[in-house]
Symmetry: C2
Subunit: 492 residues, 2 copies
């Protein structure tokens, strides 16, 4: 038996798409570029949301909700931000349909119901939020404002891929306002740190923290911090960003506060977000040719119990016993599912839960009951063993932790094996084509060089890592002096 | 001191708007008809969401996410549904902005980026979801499908009011698919029952369950079940609806399943939803001229502790003591806030928490510490008392339950006092104008009569209550025979 998925070595991109669809995570919809997040995929996203939401609240943030639409005049107020998103905006121009006189039973846009001012479906909410903060902020006593919202946003992408790049996606966006530059920078770094912690500890994905180069910065930001992860195919994926926006939006929307001395100053801003794109990072970090592999923290079900029986008499015996095991695991807070359907064979179920990445599968039949054991299959390393039913819940709890750690360690090992230092452009190109991954190389700091390298190799600067030592060197492309290595990679 | 809110007797509508804005629940935005839900209001909505979400999951439903946009051709497939929403749709026609050659730094819609097919911003998601279910359903084994989504929807309302009627609002919409009519009806009634339980037990708002008349039914439904609540001003508010959709959407989107005998049948459907409108119901049921009154279940903070002190020495003593009380309440799961800011006076804080409806306020100063007591103020009945600090957490836990029950009882009493039986149209009109509330009256069952009464009095049939006894009578308007009283009211 097997999943008959395209393998990663055959076609990584096809493997990814098949896995997403067949593991019931998401699928394409009737709307160009928009996806449907299926219940199993959404349950994983809900686990991410719950954890992140708690981390935001623990660090002093509250949730709020701002409108879906941005009037064009507000949208264009911060010029760089507007320019950055103008080419991928869904635009509402009318507010009514009418019967189509030429096609019975059909509707058409009512030309009389044209909006005076077009509305942009938010690609990000700085504009609508800062036009609101203007009314909320008068004095230093009104600061800081520490808000987040969970929302859908729309960016009209031409080439889309499930979770990685879709026209509509779900995300959270934090928007904070501060009295000083220092405080805003501190907030930006704190949020990037929170993202790193979440992605590493909860999702089991190692990341590198850094800042973006000018050309890769968020439109309207002074500095963009990011966390960068490495996928199995050697391509990088930006997993989250936190932006120090300086006073750009405060100036665009004229948001000033009276400081303690009564003097008016522009407010300092940050924004930060992660999205359903994290689902893509999850899949491409841990999964294998048999399907999804879920870290226990993210698994909607951490354990599935499959009873194995023939005939009604055995069925009752085995299901009763399996129910007791279910109860003992459930009682200690393990997310467990008992699949006692008799419409599907155990073999079918084994395959299905393998495809869906359930961390631990327990199989139990009449012989196991006699022996007081269960068959335990681990999804992460595909090993099977028979273990005693005695103190099963303690054993499983430990094992879930072990699996969580094992997945992180495996990913970390892969990532660390794929950071290569290169000191010449020849070497750089060779490593990029043969091995892939991150390349740590000297760069002269100019956008010109960055763009040339991108044109010639498709590699971009993923980040200027925060924890790389200063080190004098020469740019691999221009030969000009450099003070630090940066990380290049091909990226999603 | 006082809140200086417009009073309810002065102008109920103005009181409502002022309260919503001043208690930091929501405000109007720069986008016509769209509101901003502020952190305090959103925290209440989050509590509703968490409770409802658990109730949905406990009854076997899962969450998923479907696209924001509906292509026009899908939107118009179910004709009644399309007709019902056609006049209030936001329509996306373009996907790109470009620089405006005539106005430097400004943008305009790029006429070359016109969509081939317009996209409707979902006013409700039956169309996009049933076009998807078509691919998910082949056999009876694929049924039932029990899904819910938390989402934003847009209905282009001409006259909007914060929470009650906004162009964009937040809601949940359940969409289920079933093999039989009976099962779908059972699901519809179950969800209406769940809504009733939630609104009564959790929000403290008594409701009447019933079905809608044909003219008040959801566009595309065969039967609409609803829960109706009565506001303080004697107007009714529809708090939630559950629709039995028959096979209308299955036929519009050609969704069939093979039954156990292998015969193809159309699938049966339901949908059900509640929205941020519930915030309006909450406010207009419990609040008073001093501001919001929150049932403890919904309060972001159930208890606020305000330390009262003069000078630094007292401050340390009192805040230390207040912190101990905070810890003891927090430890038993009470949502408690300690407001030890020294930038605001106790008087200011008392006013603010009164306005914001915090159920219990504890005041503590040096004398209270000496006596081992605290001053406790209840928001629901505005009483104050001194109580012992001994076993405070047990006392408060009990009191929170008592307040929750008291609010429900008060609302129930008001509601029951405002259900009047009328047997003549004269009497009906008199009661409607003088007393308001629900009027239980006989109706001949025709839309014609319903419309005439509506035109003449502005009262509509809120529902045909499920638990009213059959009773022969004559229609108050036409004098024709009737078999049951229905509930009329003016409504939000």
């Amino acid at each position: 038996m097997g999943q008959n998925l395209t393998t990663r070595s055959q076609d990584y991109s096809k493997w990814y798409h098949e896995l997403v669809v067949r593991a019931d995570l998401a699928e394409n919809s009737a709307v160009r570029g928009c996806m449907i997040i299926k219940p199993y995929g959404y349950a994983i996203w809900e686990r991410m949301q719950a954890e992140l939401d708690q981390m935001f609240k623990d660090s002093g943030h509250s949730n709020a909700y701002f409108p879906l639409f941005v009037p064009k005049s507000l949208f264009e107020a911060e010029e760089k931000n507007a320019e950055g998103f103008a080419k991928e905006c869904a635009i509402v121009t009318h507010y009514r349909l009418e019967n189509d006189p030429d096609r019975k039973g059909k509707l058409r846009v009512d030309p009389k119901a044209k909006l005076e001012e077009e509305l942009i479906v938010r690609p990000t909410s700085e504009a609508i939020i800062w036009s609101t903060y203007k009314n909320w902020i008068q004095s230093y006593r009104d600061l800081p404002i520490l808000l987040n919202q969970w929302a859908n946003v729309v960016r009209w992408e031409m080439r889309t891929r499930l979770f990685l790049r879709t026209a509509e996606f779900l995300w959270q966006e934090g928007h904070t306002a501060h009295a000083t530059k220092e405080e805003a920078i501190e907030e930006t770094m704190q949020m990037n740190e929170i993202y790193a912690k979440f992605v590493e500890d909860f999702m089991g994905i190692p990341v590198i923290q850094g800042t973006k180069t000018e050309s890769e910065r968020f439109a309207g930001a002074v500095e963009t911090y990011c966390i960068e992860a490495l996928m199995q195919d050697g391509k990088a994926l930006q997993a989250g960003t936190a932006h120090f926006l300086g006073q750009n939006f405060a100036k665009a929307f004229d948001v000033k506060f009276a400081n303690k001395e009564g003097k008016l100053e522009h407010v300092w801003a940050t924004s930060w977000g992660v999205s359903t794109r994290l689902m893509g990072a999850l899949i491409m970090t841990h999964s294998d040719d048999k399907g999804l592999v879920l870290p226990p923290n993210l698994a909607p079900f951490q354990v599935v119990i499959v009873p194995i029986f023939k005939g009604e008499e055995q069925r009752k015996l085995v299901v009763d016993h399996a129910t007791k095991i279910y109860d003992s695991l459930h009682a200690v807070g393990i997310r467990v599912k008992l699949d006692d359907r008799d419409t599907h064979t155990p073999g079918y179920k084994f395959n299905d839960y393998e495809l869906k990445g359930v961390p631990i599968r327990l199989g139990i039949g009449p012989k196991d009951i006699e022996k007081g054991s269960v068959e335990l299959a681990r999804r992460d390393d595909l090993t099977k063993s028979f273990i005693s039913q005695d103190k099963l819940e303690i054993h499983i709890k430990e094992l879930l932790k072990e699996i969580q750690n094992n997945l992180f360690d495996k990913a970390l090992q892969h990532r660390d094996q794929h950071i290569t230092s290169c000191d010449s452009y020849e070497d750089f190109k060779k490593v990029l084509e043969s091995k892939g991954g991150f390349i740590a190389a000297h760069w002269d700091g100019t956008t010109e060089t960055e763009m040339k390298i991108k044109q010639e190799t498709k590699a971009t600067i993923r980040c200027i890592p925060l924890d790389f030592d200063k080190e004098n060197g020469t740019c691999i492309y221009s030969g000009k002096p450099s003070v630090q290595r940066v990380l290049f990679a091909k990226a999603y």
